[in-house]
């Protein structure tokens, strides 16, 4: 084993020297200059559907799951999978980051951008992530499973997400052997993911349903047909800014296509419901709604200190206002970006310094004023 461990360490070192720790920091800092393609506010139904995401959970069959994998095994898994990611890099322009070498702030920054999960950020031992320059493909190594592949798209784009992720999975399967058995499909660390190992999620912006409390009916209906509802950052996170992720709950016994179709059938109903309620709100009290949206815009443009929660709430109003034609001088992608860029790690990266919560509120307000100032 000693020999194996040395080998593993050497390989890991090679990866680190190839890209360099310095390289990581520079590259990560460059990200703050841009935003992920999925935020551009394009694609079908993009006024309500922020993004579509599909992830696959996979494990190398010759290794134990991470609960029973020691440091040496984890390093070996990371070596194999980061090698595979490097092989894919030519086709998908992927950058690989050794997460253990990243500072806490940088890890948080990647969480806010939806490129890694909180579990990967806060995990232990050798682990990493490879993601595409456009930020719509990400491969997490040594998260809950050995590999979590994710594809993200702006708007409602279930089929194209599936095509791309299936292709990536096929390319990997040419080279590595994933744990699989004929009865239970792909084998995962948690039995709730076995079978297809797929999670199909659609992120919706539903401010009108929240405002009228109709959202509760939606939750109940979704629960009945086996779909889960989560907040902006997945399991256990709060629904900030009226964003909800709708996803499949079960993974075994139905094909990937069937699970995708379930969502494809349901999502238009929720979109239609949100649109009807928006229209009703306008019809009942256009002036009131216009006032509410304009006040939100006013606060965001002129506040001197503002919390993340208050920002999300007003940005949500503003986003709906733009989509209803009540606000005309602001494009949707800017608002989409502001949801991400006003979060703690992003603000600190923008200001190149660590800030406590009070300082962040001041920095957030100042950043919002800059971004929302009239363009002359």
């Amino acid at each position: 084993m000693e020999r194996g461990e040395n080998l593993a360490q050497k390989s890991r070192a090679t990866i680190v020297t190839d890209q360099g720790r310095q390289g990581h920091t520079v590259k990560l800092d460059e990200l703050i200059q841009s935003s992920g393609e999925w935020l551009r506010g394009e694609g079908p139904e993009a006024d309500i559907v922020i993004s579509t995401r599909i992830r696959l959970a996979r494990n190398l069959s010759q290794f134990p799951f991470l609960t029973r994998a020691d440091e040496g095994a984890r390093a070996e898994i990371e070596r194999i999978l980061s090698g595979q990611i490097a092989r894919l890099a030519a086709r998908k322009s992927l950058n690989y980051f050794d997460v253990t070498s990243l500072q806490r702030l940088d890890r948080q920054f990647l969480v806010e951008r939806q490129l890694i999960s909180r579990e990967l950020s806060e995990g232990q031992g050798p682990r990493g992530v490879g993601f595409s320059t456009a930020e719509n493909v990400s491969l997490m190594v040594n998260e809950e499973d050995h590999l979590r592949i994710q594809v993200l798209r702006s708007g409602l784009a279930l089929e194209s997400c599936w095509q791309e992720i299936n292709q990536i999975d096929d390319l990997l399967e040419e080279q590595v052997c994933f744990a699989f058995n004929e009865q239970l499909g792909y084998l995962t660390a948690c039995p709730t993911n076995c079978g297809t190992g797929i999670r199909v999620s659609v992120m919706l912006h539903l401010p009108a349903l929240v405002q009228t409390k109709e959202i509760q009916k939606v939750f109940q209906a979704l629960h009945k047909i086996g779909l889960a509802v989560r907040g902006l950052y997945g399991e256990g996170s709060q629904a900030m800014g009226d964003f909800y992720q709708i996803s499949n709950q079960t993974t075994l016994g139905k094909s990937e296509e069937q699970l995708i179709k379930n969502l494809k059938d349901v999502i238009p109903n929720i979109i239609g419901y949100e649109r009807r309620v928006r229209t009703a709100l306008i019809k009942e009290n256009r002036q009131g709604l216009h006032d509410q949206v304009s006040r939100a815009y006013g606060i965001l443009k002129s506040a001197q200190t503002i919390t993340s929660e208050e920002t999300m709430q007003h940005l949500s109003s503003l986003r709906m206002g733009i989509n209803l034609g009540l606000i005309e001088d602001l494009p949707i992608p800017t608002v989409n970006e502001l949801f991400i860029f006003t979060q703690p790690a992003h603000l600190q990266k923008l200001r190149h310094t660590s800030l406590d919560s009070g300082e962040r509120n001041v920095a957030r307000a100042s950043y919002l004023r800059e971004r929302l100032a009239p363009q002359n």
Binding site: M1, P64, R68, E174, Q183, L252, G253
Partner: protein
């Protein structure tokens, strides 16, 4: 899936039928025990399949002792953390896992994508997990002769399972 009363992973999934109406509960082991003892105190019918009598308890203890021959995880450890230890656990704990999977997914037969590599390969892979574990023990115990044997066996198996893509296409 998380426990419905605390942040731990849910490892026990109970379907309770009260007056013909089925209700689903998802608990971690601790909360499940609390729930079941409360249900018992209230004199409710205990959910089907969960035995609270002594015989049942000793059965549960026996079950907890069950360990995977590959990775060594016991069923008790799995129940506690909600995560399995290696792919072979799905076979080692099959009898116990199938009802659990049925509860979670409503199905017990995979229907979807199948990898290009055959499950035959997987058997060799399970053996690799086991041999690597044994090698670690052999080194810890300083049985170098045994370790060398194990290493050769591992290398042989690794070569067998790492067939280049071109060769596979010829098969």
């Amino acid at each position: 899936m998380k426990c419905q009363t605390c942040p731990s992973p849910a490892t026990l999934h109970i379907t309770e039928i009260v007056k013909g109406v089925a209700a689903e509960h998802h608990f971690c082991e601790e909360c499940a025990q609390q729930y079941l003892s409360q249900a018992e105190a209230k004199g409710n019918d205990l959910p089907a399949g969960v035995a609270a009598d002594e015989e049942g308890e000793s059965k549960l203890k026996e079950l907890d002792q069950l360990a995977c021959p590959n990775c060594g995880i016991t069923f008790k450890e799995f129940r506690k953390q909600g995560r399995l230890g290696c792919p072979h656990d799905y076979i080692a704990f099959q009898e116990e896992l199938i009802p659990l999977l049925e509860n979670i997914h409503g199905e017990t037969q995979h229907f979807g994508k199948v990898p290009k590599r055959t499950p035959d390969d997987s058997r060799k892979q399970y053996r690799l997990i086991k041999l690597r574990g044994e090698l670690k023990v052999a080194i810890a115990e300083e049985s170098y002769e045994q370790a060398a044997k194990l290493r050769d066996e591992i290398q042989r198996l690794e070569l067998e399972t790492q067939t280049p893509a071109s060769e596979e296409e010829n098969e």
